[in-house]
């Protein structure tokens, strides 16, 4: 473990030297500054666990320095050193958030206890942040339901890879539960007592993603009022889940590659190198090999992340899991809504199993949630299911004529728009006359 860092700010050389020696003997990494400006410059370069700050200094006084320190690092743990005469100012410093103050000369035992308590508080604060992450992670955690042979193979792969520290790519269509798989890997790994930090690269613009991943220093860009740790730094000791890795821009791909190779990075606007020991788990619904082929995804990054690959099968390929999943979601929403659990009628079950579920488990969950909201009685019937499921969107065979698909689509659009032909024509991108012709030709009736 690296030494804890302390910054000693005092204009008297003898005080700086004495405290330096004292803390060096205690195994601290000690830095000293003779005035406020020097202290702020040092704080700007990196955080300190504890700052020992003299109140009376020429130039910028201790109170101003303390305010500026907290602007740079709002979690900074500042202990005020003061002469007896300026205790009132020390009280003001406490109001501004200083941990405590001591009057010079200080009893060695008092100083020792004070620093120990300050450090303890800082550790508790850090631990609290970690535990909050953990609690929110546990609150979000949901078991993976799947008895099908394909899912059993996925579980086996999770167990195998969880024991290693290898980078993992989880592939699968949207809604297949890639994030759940990533959380399961983390939960079974030796890193489980540290956070899993998730970032969705697909939903964030490049400029924001950079700051999200690497963090930023105060003033790094407009609006950066405080130093902020990035997700990579927060994932120290744990797992970084990078969702939609296939959507990362070329520039970010280079930055990511560098971090993966060195585990070192700097915050935006900063120059201090930060080390983060994290395990990377990526998820994507895209075909990375095709992206590499097309030149939009770096080959070197591909090889760096594709150490272990887990393919999550779409729900239509594991029909055995549909009903266990449906029953799991019925129980989940019954609990959440304070309702009794409901059975699924044989007809509804047939529809659920035959539907192709293009939105995968997420779509199934939404369908069950909807059925639990709108349905009444002890059983979920077919008409409690969303229209496209109820209509047997999946009952239709894949090999269908274009005319059949067109008829179904026109029917759905008309139903959605309460039979308004003018609006339906606009949505479909054809004129009203053409739509009337098609309605006539296909014999479309509302609610068909």
């Amino acid at each position: 473990m690296s030494a804890r860092k302390i910054l000693i700010v005092d204009d008297e050389l003898s005080v700086r030297q004495s405290l330096r020696e004292w803390f060096l003997e205690d195994g601290w990494a000690v830095t000293t500054a003779e005035n406020g400006n020097a202290a702020l410059q040092l704080m700007d370069d990196g955080p300190y666990d504890i700052v020992l700050l003299d109140l009376k200094m020429p130039g910028m006084d201790g109170i101003t320095v303390q305010k500026r320190i907290r602007e740079l690092d709002k979690d900074a743990c500042v202990i005020i050193l003061t002469a007896f005469a300026s205790v009132e100012t020390a009280v003001e410093a406490l109001k501004l958030g200083a941990f405590d103050y001591v009057t010079k000369p200080v009893d060695p035992d008092d100083l020792s206890n004070l620093v120990r308590n300050a450090l303890r508080q800082r550790e508790l604060t850090e631990e609290n942040v970690r535990l909050k992450e953990k609690v929110s992670e546990l609150a979000q955690a949901s078991p993976i339901v799947g008895d099908s042979p394909k899912m059993q193979r996925v579980f086996e792969m999770i167990r195998t890879v969880a024991e290693t520290d290898s980078t993992v790519v989880i592939r699968g269509e949207s809604g297949t539960g890639k994030e759940l798989i990533a959380r399961s890997i983390h939960a079974q790994s030796k890193r489980r007592f540290f956070p899993i930090v998730a970032v969705n690269a697909g939903s964030i613009p490049e400029s924001l993603l950079e700051s999200e991943l690497f963090g930023h220093e105060k003033g790094a860009f407009t609006g950066a009022q405080y130093r902020r740790k990035g997700k990579i730094e927060l994932a120290h000791g744990g797992t970084l889940l990078l969702d939609e890795i296939g959507d990362v821009t070329p520039k970010m791909q280079i930055d990511l590659l560098r971090v993966l190779e060195t585990k070192r990075f700097t915050r935006l606007g900063g120059n201090q190198e930060i080390v983060s020991d994290f395990r990377l788990v990526c998820a994507t619904h895209k075909n990375l090999e095709q992206l590499v082929e097309a030149g939009t995804f770096r080959e070197d990054l591909y090889y760096r992340i594709n150490v272990f690959s887990i393919e999550v099968p779409p729900l239509r390929e594991r029909a055995d899991d549909i009903m266990p999943l449906a029953r799991f979601f019925v129980a989940k929403y019954a609990r959440a809504m304070g309702k009794p659990e409901r059975a699924v009628s044989p007809e509804a079950e047939r529809l659920l199993v035959q539907y192709r579920w293009p939105g995968n488990v997420r779509e199934l969950e939404n369908a069950i949630e909807r059925a639990m909201v709108i349905g009444s009685g002890e059983t979920i019937h077919s008409d409690d299911l969303p229209l496209h499921v109820e209509n047997g969107g999946a009952v239709e065979p894949v090999a269908r004529s274009l005319a059949a698909v067109e008829k179904e689509h026109i029917t759905r659009v008309l139903d959605d728009l309460d039979g308004n032909v003018s609006q339906a024509a606009k949505v479909l991108g054809i004129d009203r006359a053409t739509l009337y012709n098609k309605i006539k030709r296909y014999g479309v009736r509302r609610g068909q």
Binding site: S18, E21, P105, P108, L111
Partner: protein, 181 residues
């Protein structure tokens, strides 16, 4: 040949137990130890308003008297020591350096209003000497309560710990000694 550690009894301080302390330090460090009288100018280190001596200034004066290269020197004085920001120190050392200084002033039971106990004073002096010399050989404070390198900010803590290094500190000493060669 291993350079010796000099126990420098300062400015005529000549307690009858000098050899006992030298023996204790020798046993802990497994190095040759010699007790010698040394004269330094203490006047610049004296702070009249505190009635104490500035440990760092004594140490600086002592370092000018190191008899041979590679040797370590530990000053032992009966005077109360301080460093500017602290009310007192039992001793001070150059971390991974050449010299250290220890005061017996607050190690004597009489300082706390208790009856004199020469045996206890000697035992505490050995512990503080071994502790400060540990710093001079590059050791930092040890979390092990019984280890002589455990930090002691009051005398009861000195009594709690032993006069020898724990396994981890001994290992560190050996590594440092080997790398110095």
């Amino acid at each position: 040949m291993t350079p010796p550690v000099y126990l420098a009894f300062l400015n005529g301080y000549a307690p009858p137990w000098q050899d006992v302390v030298a023996g204790g330090v020798r046993e802990a460090l497994a190095r040759p130890v010699r007790a010698v009288p040394v004269q330094v100018d203490l006047a610049p280190a004296y702070a009249r308003e505190r009635e104490q001596y500035h440990a760092t200034l004594i140490l600086a004066a002592l370092l000018r008297q190191v008899p041979e290269p590679g040797a370590r020197i530990l000053g032992i004085t009966p005077f109360d020591l301080y460093i500017p920001v602290l009310t007192f120190v039992f001793g001070q050392s150059q971390l991974d350096g050449t010299g250290a200084v220890v005061s017996t002033h607050r190690l004597r039971p009489e300082y706390y209003g208790l009856p004199p106990d020469e045996g206890l004073t000697v035992e505490r002096t050995i512990k503080e000497a071994v502790h400060e010399l540990g710093h001079a050989f590059g050791l930092v404070h040890c979390p092990e309560y019984g280890c002589v390198m455990h930090a002691s900010t009051y005398v009861e803590e000195v009594d709690l710990k032993g006069a020898s290094y724990c396994g981890a500190c001994l290992e560190e000493l050996h590594v440092r000694r080997a790398s110095a060669h």
